[in-house]
Amino acid sequence: MAKLKPEELANFGEKAVKAAMKNGANEAEAFLSETLTTIVGIERNQISKNIRKNDQGLGIRAVYNKAIGFSYTNVLNDKSIEETAIDAFRSAKASKPDKNWSGFAASKKYGATKDTFDKKLIDISSDGLVDIASVMLAEAADYDKRVFVAEGEVQTQLSSRTVVNSCGVEGFDEGTSIECGLATVAREGQEVTPVCMEFNAERVYKIDPKWVGKEAAKQAISSLKARKVGIESFPVIFNQTAFSELLYFTFINAVKADQVQRKQSALEGKIGKKVASELVTIYDDGLMANGLNTWKFDGEGVPCQKTPIIEKGTLRHYLYDGYAAKKDGVESTGNALRRGIAPYMSTPIIEATNFVITPGNKSADELIDDVDNGIIVYSLQGAHSSNPSTGEFSVVGTPAWKIEKGEIAYAIKGAMVAGTIFDVLNNVSALGNNVRKVNQIVAPWITVENVRIIGK
């Protein structure tokens, strides 16, 4: 493994900052990331590919006369770093000043994180990942002959990030993750089910491939013999995947401070006001133990933290990076994200970390028991086409099942779910105790009353 030592990374960062300053920058900030990814891929019922990706690089922001230039490189040597720093400075010089620019982050002590690194995930061999994939495949195949595994994968990742700036910030953090998942369909006669996906994602080696394989197969089989429903308002139980899709493209955008400041958010001026049912409490917790998005510091070197967003239905806080925070005269909440497979290539944007919805005390079965005539949805098709500004969405719930008299009655197909996220949050009537991590969300199943379903 071509892994650089923390000192080497810090050294490259310092060199970049120094080179930018020496050439005339007023301020500079270097961000380095290194990612090693191993994937065993499944296609059409068998393991078909093995992938190893090694990516490292440095990005530097240089400020000149309040204008910002950014340049990156994946060639880490002294010469390349110097050239990259100079290029960033040149871009800043060619750009226009931003009168609101008020500097990079100042140095602060970082909090401790827990369960974000597991040496076992570094030591695991390709053979080990092949075994995990085989277990998932065998479970799915044993469940029912009508199940077909469209695709799947087992992935481990080791990544590190380093930040250095001219205001004294210097940070290093590294973490691991593992993910295993399957996408299945079931076929019977002319009928094909929608794709059903199940997965486990953790920062430490604590996954259950047997459950994933079985659950993915079970969902596909129970999606057979789907029927249409009419046009009606129902109580809807959203599982974590469905709710995360809905929230990510609507509400999470609405609480980003830059969107509020730029008049793009329906939550402008709503701090301290009721925006959701009293049952709803949400924190953004960048330090959550074993959180999929837990790091000691964010993409600007600001310490990650736990920030209350909604407490018992009342909006408490927006998500901030350094720039938006200074505009509002508050502290950054540590939500500046360097996005993507190669974070060093990107400049920070505001993003949620672990968006934790406080669970209730009902089991999944009890939530279903409580619904007399409603729907349960496992995924939403088209959530990315929601309107992040107004919170309006109009998506297809798939896979989804009809609930009648407290029992799952039958699969439904082609049912659209429409409304606004703010109505959804106000109409939350129950939360389960079955918490799971899915993308940015950490949540239980959630029952929402009076959701518009357009079936045919």
Binding site: Q46, I47, N50, R52, F70, N74, N100, V192, I231, S389
Partner: protein, 460 residues
């Protein structure tokens, strides 16, 4: 590069690989982001890297590395072979590749105005001119984000079938989002244009034209009402028919997804749509964003007919799926960059022209919707699709009426293909970025088209 690559291929074959492929890139990228007339950042970067793929006892091994150094490439090929070996014992159906003719080629682009040579200041001025047009359009415009992107450089390809290709790459992409607000009404509109031509294209696609188009769409939405939910006839504009051709149908005809269980699995040679429906995926359209000379397996791009007069006549293939189907690869294997392995992607996918005027399409619709511009779309292997819409109007008694918002429509792909009953004589190709685990620039389009029914997801 050729002799360095040959050594790596040789090393792979000595390790026992039955097929070896190397792709490398030397690309240069510029991104400019403005937010509300402020230049947030100018980003530039160099991306060098290589991807090595081997077929080892019927299993793929893939290793990517952010360097072009010979030693790293040799390490990577060892790694790729070792990993593939780990799962080769499990394989039931070994992967085989369709034969292709070896290609030796050099594709050199000579744009009139090479974006990598255009000064940063000129690019910033372009973006700020668009920003100004947008804010000047109407005082209800409250916010605007513009992202300008150019990518230029060269991709290198070699494989153990004795192909060696050097291919210049050039992309221009301009994405705009506009927010408007009036009292408690909010609206958002977005627009993306892209080309594989030089910077001179902005003399015809001027920032003023682009800015005014997206600003108008946004401001018009403030007057829009929420539509009725239910099943209605609709006229789909070129943007919408494009996303339908790409999302709802195209993905199902990507042979890897077809074999993964899409509803087209047993439909080759069968009628799946109305006689007026012909859908093509074309990688050879000059200057279009989804066009290229050779794909990332070294196969020449081509024009692939998917549906002819309602009948499925072809699928999109890479070498692996072509072998399975006993047919020829269609040149659809694309990789986002060196970090990814090539997979089957669409290029420029469109419905071909018919003979109706726009007015003729509207005729006879008592009440329905004219759906003009989308926000996003997604399809499932079972043929369920959803398209979120940013611009749509009612059709009342054969005429375009009031604008509606928060509309999205869905349906079943095959039912909708049968429900197409008239195709327009106009044509437009638009630009998108498709995500299938990795991003790809794609073109999509067609003429205005009428469908007998789609399901509109509204509120009332």
């Amino acid at each position: 590069m050729k002799s360095e690559f040959a050594k790596v291929i040789d090393a792979g074959q000595k390790l026992g690989a039955e097929y070896v492929e190397i792709r490398a890139q030397k690309l240069f990228r510029t991104v400019i982001t403005t937010k509300d007339s402020r230049v947030e950042v100018v980003r530039r970067g160099i991306e060098n890297g290589a991807a090595i793929r081997v077929l080892f006892k019927g299993v793929w091994g893939f290793a990517s590395t952010g360097t072009l150094e010979q030693k790293q490439l040799l390490d990577s090929i060892t790694e790729a072979c070792k990993m593939a070996k780990a799962s080769s014992l499990q394989v039931k159906e070994p992967v085989k590749l369709a034969d292709i003719k070896a290609v030796e080629a050099k594709v050199v682009l000579k744009p009139k105005k090479d974006p990598s040579k255009v000064p940063i200041g000129e690019k910033i001025d372009l973006v700020l001119a668009e920003d100004k047009t947008i804010f000047d359009f109407d005082k209800s415009v409250k916010s605007c984000t513009i992202n300008y992107l150019d990518i230029s450089g060269t991709n290198y390809f070699a494989n153990s079938d004795k192909s060696y290709i050097e291919q210049d790459k050039l992309y221009l992409y301009l994405v705009t989002a506009v927010w408007a607000r009036e009292a408690d009404k909010m609206a958002l509109a977005s627009d993306g244009i892209g080309f594989t031509t030089g910077f001179e294209i902005f003399q015809t696609e001027t920032p003023e034209i682009v800015g005014r188009r997206v600003a108008k769409r946004c401001v018009d939405q403030l007057k829009a009402k929420i539509p009725k939910g239910g099943t209605y006839p609709a006229v789909l504009g070129p943007q919408i028919i494009g996303i339908f051709a790409h999302e709802a149908f195209g993905h199902l005809a990507e042979a890897d997804l077809t074999m993964a269980g899409s509803v087209l699995i047993d439909k080759l040679g069968k009628k799946v749509g109305a006689e007026v429906v012909t859908i093509i995926d074309d990688g050879t359209m000059e200057g279009a964003i989804g066009s290229y000379k050779y794909d990332d397996e070294g196969v020449p791009a081509q024009k692939t007919v998917l549906i002819k007069n309602g009948e499925i006549v072809g699928l999109m293939h890479n070498r692996e799926t072509a072998q399975k189907y006993g047919t020829k690869p269609t040149g659809n294997a694309r990789a986002e960059d060196f970090r990814y392995e090539p997979i089957i992607r669409q290029r420029n996918t469109y419905l071909t022209k018919g003979d109706h005027s726009f007015e003729e399409l509207l005729e006879g619709i008592k009440f329905g919707y004219y759906i003009k511009n989308y926000r996003g779309g997604q399809a499932n292997l079972d043929g369920t699709f959803q398209v979120g819409v940013q611009e749509a109007y009612e059709i009342v008694n054969g005429e375009v009426g009031a604008p509606v918002r928060n509309v999205s429509f869905s349906g079943n792909t095959l039912e909708t293909l049968h429900s197409v009953d008239a195709v327009g004589k106009d044509f437009e190709l638009n630009v998108g970025v498709c995500g299938k685990g990795q991003a790809a620039f794609v073109g999509a389009g067609g003429p205005h088209t009428r469908v007998k029914e789609v399901l509109i997801g509204g509120k009332a």
